[in-house]
Amino acid sequence: MESQPTALPGQARPAAGWTRGAIAGALAPIETLLAWRRAWLGMDKNPKALLFVQSRTGAILLHLAFLGILTRCWLDSAQLAVAAAGLAACFLFPAKRIQAVSIVGILSLLAQPFRDEAFERHASGWLAQAAGTGIDPQLYIAAIAALFLAAAWGALALQDRFRGNPVGRRPLVAQFAVLISLVAAAASLPLPPLAAAGLWTFIGVYASSFWLLGYAFANLKMKDRGSPALHTGYLRPFWGGDITPIGKGMAFLRKFEARDDTALAATRLKALKLLVWGFILQKMNVRIEIFLADGIGLPGLREALIAQAQGAAVEPHIGWAILLTNFFTKVVGLAATGHILVAMVRMAGFGIPRNTAKPFASRTLAEFWNRYYYYFKEILVDFFFYPAFTRFFKKSPKLRVAFATFCAAGVGNAIYHFMYLIGDIPENGIMELLYGFQSYLIYASALAGGIIVSQLNSSRPRPEDGFLRYEVVPRVVVTLFFCTLMVFDDLRPGIELSTRFAYLFNLIGV
């Protein structure tokens, strides 16, 4: 006879007809899954796994598995080929991986001169104008990329030699001056089509590597700085990405380089874990986007804004749903891409921090800013925040923090994003682009304001405030702030500011 299970104090009583054995049986697959999950997450600390990965067979199998998953992550064939070459070079020459990354970086820049899709698109348009010259467009672009590499190497060598010189001491200002001069020349001079195509292509390659070049200049000021030629290979590392430099420059990578075989094995295992997580997030995000669009027919934010402009505003609750889902999928998509790129850097032997780390756990705006897009935030901090913070308003701590934050999250952020639009100048003209950019200027200003308040606010959430005020309310506030800001997070022209404000007021029923 089967005895009825008895609930212990504090335990829920099992449903009638369920025995302990049956419950244990039902839970067994979950427990097995959880045990597998624990083993997977802990494998970079597992001595057996670490030993296996240090063996030649283990290392080869790990690389093959890594590349196999990478092929499923929607990289194009050129990106995959460059990534495979970079990983192979770091695998074959682990003691020379700094040099290996630099050499493959040169090939990477020649194979993929642009980091921005807009430049890719426009390059074919510029070259079409120069048709009939008998020049192969791909060779022409590669030649311009080679010219850029030579110019960058020359500039780095000059800075290395004359770093006490006023220009050498302010390389970023010089970089901007050169970029603005080139754009002004290309936009205003009556150049023949082939020369115009060449100049715009050069600007595209330069803008694509702008921040990495900035880090190379900054690295050359350090004690253990490496040669200008070595830094030239870091203007397009093999792991790719857009214009945001994942892994910053060579000096940052050196800090995180695996120093021995065990550390290298652990870094590679962490790389595999992160790649798998990035892959899962990427696929999950696409499923969610398809479900939202096709499953429940939720329009995208831009569609909703266009409808608003046409007098067909969505219901407020739909408006909020659009913002929340847009925010969620944007953050998850960014995390997925960042994880895949950081995984490649780690596989090469550099245990750098993640690009995105638990952003939805943030309790303050400043914390979210730090967690959701680390390498973009680092650009703003390194090139805008610190220079302002260490020079201005030293006698007034609050004003000092506020001004430096405005320089980074406001000014630097706007400049960084406007650089994405440079490729559109020949087609749209700078005035139209600036007009369309006013929405992003509002976004950047509001973001800077929010982060300044968040940084200066001395009353931070504490565990003793209680579950609701510590765990829930701060996170809701952070989410609502960034969701609301998304109404203005748009670089492209076509939607008037009045429409965006109307959408915003519609959310609160006004």
Partner: protein
């Protein structure tokens, strides 16, 4: 730098780490910023604390946060 000043510097760093829920110990040569234990906001607090404590001006055109990455590097900067 005197051992008293070094201890004071370590106390400031411990406070910043504790604010971030990090109560692990750290050596004088351990990376604090590049390892991710401290962030850029902590750097601003640290710079202001160092300036107040040692009556110096941190920064200038060549400033880089890696100059503050460990207690040793901070001592070099201050001395």
């Amino acid at each position: 730098m005197s051992s008293l000043q070094r201890d004071r510097l370590r106390a400031i760093i411990s406070g910043l780490l504790a604010e971030r829920g990090d109560i692990r110990s750290f050596t004088d040569t351990e990376s604090l910023f590049l390892s991710g234990r401290l962030d850029s906001m902590a750097a601003t607090n640290l710079i202001m604390a160092i300036e107040a404590e040692f009556e110096i001006e941190v920064g200038g055109i060549d400033f880089d946060v890696s100059m503050l990455d460990s207690v040793e590097e901070m001592c070099t900067l201050v001395s």
